[in-house]
């Protein structure tokens, strides 16, 4: 792995993947000279990966109600949320809650 690069995984589930061309897993690679927070990642995803209307994914500068954000299987509320600094190898997951039964 190139140490100059910030590699991490973005995952969507629970229907959130429908907003991103139905792809559940995205490998992301940025130059690591820059610092990436989840807040910055959201904007990047919206501008580069989103295939549906922006309001179905974001509200203001954060995710819209009903989407949970996880960092390595932990609720981002237990971390720094928008300010969490993404580290190499992280897995950032966006889960839409399921209401059907």
């Amino acid at each position: 792995m190139n140490t100059e690069q910030l590699n991490f995984t973005v995952e969507f589930s629970g229907g959130a993947e429908l907003l991103f061309n139905k792809e559940k897993t995205h490998q992301v690679c940025f130059p690591s000279v820059e610092e990436w927070t989840i807040g910055k990642l959201l904007i990047w995803l919206r501008d580069n990966k989103l295939t549906e209307r922006p309001e179905l994914f974001m509200q203001g500068d954060t995710v819209r109600p009903g989407i949970l954000v996880l960092v390595n299987d932990t609720d981002w509320e237990l971390l720094d949320q928008l300010n969490y600094k993404i580290a190499r190898g992280d897995s950032i997951t966006f889960i839409s809650t399921l209401h059907g039964g």
């Binding site: 009903g66 839409s96 039964g101």
Partner: protein, 448 residues
Amino acid sequence: MNKQLEIDNLLQSKEREIAELKNLLDQKNEEIEQLRKSRIKYPSDGVIESDALSKDDIERYSRQMIVPAIGVDGQKRLKKASVLVVGCGGLGCPAAQYMAGCGIGRIGLVDYDVVERSNLHRQLLHAEFNLGVPKVTSLAQALLRLNSSLKIDEYNVQLSSANALEIFAKYDIIVDASDNVATRYLVNDAAVLSGRPLVSGGAVGCEGQLTVYNYKDGPCYRCLFPEPPPPETVSNCSDVGVVGPVPGCIGVLQALQVIHIITEKGEVASGKLLLFDGVSFTFRSIRLRGKSPTCKICGSEPTITQLMDYEQFCGSPANDKDSGLNILDASERVSPVFLEQAIAKKLPLLLIDVRSPVEFEMCRLPESTNIPLKLLNKEETVDQLKEMWATVAGNQNAESRVYLVCRRGNDSQLGVRRVQNILKCQVFDVKGGLHAWSRDVDPSFPIY
């Protein structure tokens, strides 16, 4: 024709026979119930019973009592416990089935709906002969067939702010097996206000989720989701579909969580969310935030102290049915019968089916062409549409019409507006869609 009549008569006599047999079955069940009641009153025929468990109980539940996670104490607790299942569908059936199997003494069932054919692939306790029967009745019958010693309460009602607290008060634990956002907020709030743990499951497509809310110091649904999702982002089983074993698996696990809460031996998924992805075939357990101190209903200074209007709060109805859209003028809509006549008279027409390709593949009108609603605005579709129209209209443009059809007549209305913008011609939607076509024109067309 005589042959038909003969078959009809035979059918009628068979149906009568079945009705008589059902009556006989009810009568026998009633007799068994009476006998059992009298036996419980006088358990003095030499049978040694432990304080709460009968001979039958011990024989029946021995296999699970031997397991330390249940034990004799756990079994007695199960027998004394009462659990309410909200929703008797894809989650409610398996959850109730395993709760009945393990001997939970009293099970309440809430559902306002009746059994439909499109339920049968996943709601496996509803049998074919119960089509059209209330789900609570159908499920109660099935549960009593599995375990006649239980007490089953049927609530054939829509759970609402008016009745939820009264019903919840009668049970120790609530299972959320419902199918829509408004009901999920209602169930959460009623569980918090009545101090009941809530075992919540959800399933759509090939994915399932499970967690427990309002258990000891754990979070409630509102701690995680203070605001409801925008209605257009919510997918349901009716539109997106669902693969039977997925809610089956989540419902069974809900039953196991109920057991853990009752016996206090196993781990309860409070502050944890279990995710099941049936395609990648993976289970994940994720760590959730704790109870939110600022939660409007379970926080330190709650502002919600009574139930509210949840349909208004969520901006969506408390069911998973599509509500009828009505955005067109009456002059822009035709009935299925009108369309049938236009086809029969061979009038020049373009019939566009705006459903998804997979739905079109399942069933369609032979004259129709599939252009999914999502594609109607795409550049390449615009050209395709203009080409198709030119072929149909030819040089008799004034006589030609475009008709749009979908499953229930909602998407077709949205499509009419788009097609009007593209083709400068007369565009109509077929009122009530293919459901209405099946009802009014061709009963052999499937309703799904």
